[in-house]
Amino acid sequence: MHSLIQLSIVVLLLPLLSFVILIFFNRRLPRRGDFIGVGILGTAFAISAYIFWSVIVQTYDPAFRIAWDFTWIDLGNVPGVGPLQIKMGIVIDNLTAIMLAMVTLISLLVHLYSTGYMAGDKNYGRYFAFLGIFTFSMLGIVLSDNLFAIYIFWELVGLSSYLLIGFFFEKQSAADAQKKAFLANRVGDIGMWLGILILYSQFHTFSFEQIYANLAAGKFGLSHGWLTAAGILLFMGCVGKSAQFPLHVWLPDAMEGPTPVSALIHAATMVAAGVYFVARIFVLLTPDALHVIAFTGACTAFMAATIAITQNDIKRVLAYSTVSQLGYMVLGLGVGAYSAALFHLVTHAFFKACLFLGSGAIIHAMHHEQDMRWMGDLRKKMPWTFATFTLATLALAGLPLTSGFMSKDAILAGAIGFAKVEGGGIYYLIPVLGFFSAMLTAFYMGRQIWLVFFGESRTHLKPADDHHQDHHAHASHDAHSDDHHEEHGVHEVSWNMRAPLVILAALSIFFVYSPDPLDGGKGWFMKMIQTPATVVGEANHQIGDLRTASVTSALAEVVPAVEAPAVEAGAHGEAQKGGHGEAQKGAHTYSDVRQAEIVHAGHAAHFTAIYISSIMVLLGITLAFVVYVFNIIDPEKTAIAIRPLYLFSLNKWYWDEIYEATFIKGSMLIANILSWFDTHIVDGIVNGVATLVRKFAYLNDGFDRNIVDGMVNFTAFTVNTTGAMLRKLQTGKVQTYVVMLLLAVFGYFVFYLTRLIY
């Protein structure tokens, strides 16, 4: 077993250890044992940093891949299949290494931050325990080498997100939110599970490696439509987890959880797991499936951005921007900008975590005031928070010199290339939506910065009742919200909350990823994460008609771009024992054409993308300034002017209402109908039969009692009476017996005499 594997197992199990220790013993430990959580996560991060170092820095190889597995369940010699084992295993490649480091780092920072943010909460220890189990399951997703294990950890992150969203479970809204999150994820998981089943039913294995090998070898027994279905169904898992349209509704509500949790789970890691999963299954996605994914991503990005414009809760704005950014990533995967999407995943994780933690700091300082309308002028009061928050905002908005700029532009470039390759038309909708969302992002982030940090403090403007009820809602679960009033005591947060902000902000600057602020492609990340060779044949891929147009030329120039996948696939082939390596290569030689084109077109569209998006972003920012800084346009008036649109956006496109009206009400209706059916019809029939039988029984009983039983009773009666009569003789008086005795004697006497005489 490779040493890195052993280390990764240690990394995987450490947070579980922290969970076990804290869930059982937190009340017995000093400081509720938070130092254990932080310490263990620190160790885990150190180890995964070493893994990162030795994988990314030392062996600088795009095709790096080591795997290890063990038999988890042995089904014996199954008829019709032969020996069947279900294996669990770990795979470490570049992506894993990067994710490992990222997850542990953010988790560590959030642990550290929480020691300040959650201080004094009555379930302080339990909180860290939950963080521990979340980190464990997240790392499980990252490390697993098969669908089954990923599904398991998938549900487990769902559980930990459930637990953490509902951490303040006394709040009804939190309880609703956690249920909503879990159920929405379950809906997604159903699809994912069905997709897994489709693949298993063909290959009787869950392992990525073998599934891909079988697919590449063309062993898929069902029609190609089933394969597309499998892809889309698996993607549904991502839809649920990464809050893609139409299952995005749970994420904004999930902000009921503590803010560090929102940073860790609902911004940086868990919601990104969906994207990570799609990246894992990328090679089996048919082009049709990819189209679906791309459009889903685009819709999500756009819709979320439009909603984010009008939200007033600082965390909800960030939540919708998260949904929107996740849309970007999914879009990127859908259009085949594989590495760009994952690049954005990482960069987004850092700056979004920074944003959430910053907002957490603000909320903390404002004593759980979350409404931006009552903030303002925090620039001087919280300089550190202001600086880091702004930097992260720039990264999110995608201004040059930031990490977000590089990744987002890579995605948009890929989108343009995709649209080109797919032959334009409707496919241009995707980059267009992408760019528009970029502008909106810049706009609402500018709005947020301004409302929060600039202008004069509007705390006193807050309606008293509103604030009191709000204050009260938090009083139930928060230990230190009962102290001094909002006006005074807004101050910079302590070091253990500041340090994570600084680190995360530093990680959202360009040179961490690439020497060239304008081209992430030159950075180590894009080099390490190469688009893998697809294993689904180009059957039914309608590239045929547009081959004539561009492919020949494209292929001509695209050779350098194609190399990477070729090399990767080849190395892949060697890396895997078993003879399907060649099949893999054979598979990719023709199936990479499309991706090669996209990569090529993406490269070609690189600078176009930069120009357009920069323009869009600047547009957005200027718009924000125009509206909020110089007040040339009054937001209220505008809102009234375009009231329907405004309301549409404010009410989140009415998705909640729609679901409430259709699915929830509907299923409750069905439930009540069925239970009525159960009690009245099914059970009614049973009882009806029972009554009929009883009626007949009564008739029968009459006959029985009067005739049949009559005879019996008569016999019994006669016996009884004779017995009674005879009993009279048994007086117990000796003399009566004597009388009888003498009677008998006399009788014999007479008899004897008569015998004697005659």
Binding site: Q730, T731, G732, K733, V734, Q735, V738, V739, L742
Partner: protein
């Protein structure tokens, strides 16, 4: 007439028959345990008379001896019976034989 004047075995038998009858009657009908005992004594006497009469007219000593033994037994019997009666009286506070019907159970 000759029958009456010359005393024979039959006379004695007749007397003992009467005694026996009366004794049985007492045993049957009387509620008082003492009287019942008296009836028993009568029966014994009747038996004795028979013994002696037969042994006289038969000329053997057997009857005589037996009568002797009977008297002894009768004495013992009377003693025991009286003791029992007294116990009964202690337990049931009565010598009413009819009220002593524990045989019923």
């Amino acid at each position: 007439m000759e029958q009456l004047t010359t005393i024979g075995l039959n006379h004695y038998l007749t007397i003992s028959a009467f005694l026996l009858g009366f004794g049985l009657f007492a045993v049957m009908t009387r509620k008082n345990a003492i009287v019942v005992l008296m009836g028993v004594e009568l029966i014994l006497n009747a038996a004795n008379i028979n013994f002696l009469a037969f042994s006289k007219y038969n000329g053997g000593m057997e009857g005589v001896m037996f009568a002797l033994f009977v008297i002894v037994i009768a004495a013992a019997e009377a003693a025991i019976a009286l003791a029992i009666v007294i116990n009964i009286y202690k337990i049931f506070k009565s010598v009413d034989v009819s009220s002593i019907d524990t045989l019923k159970e």
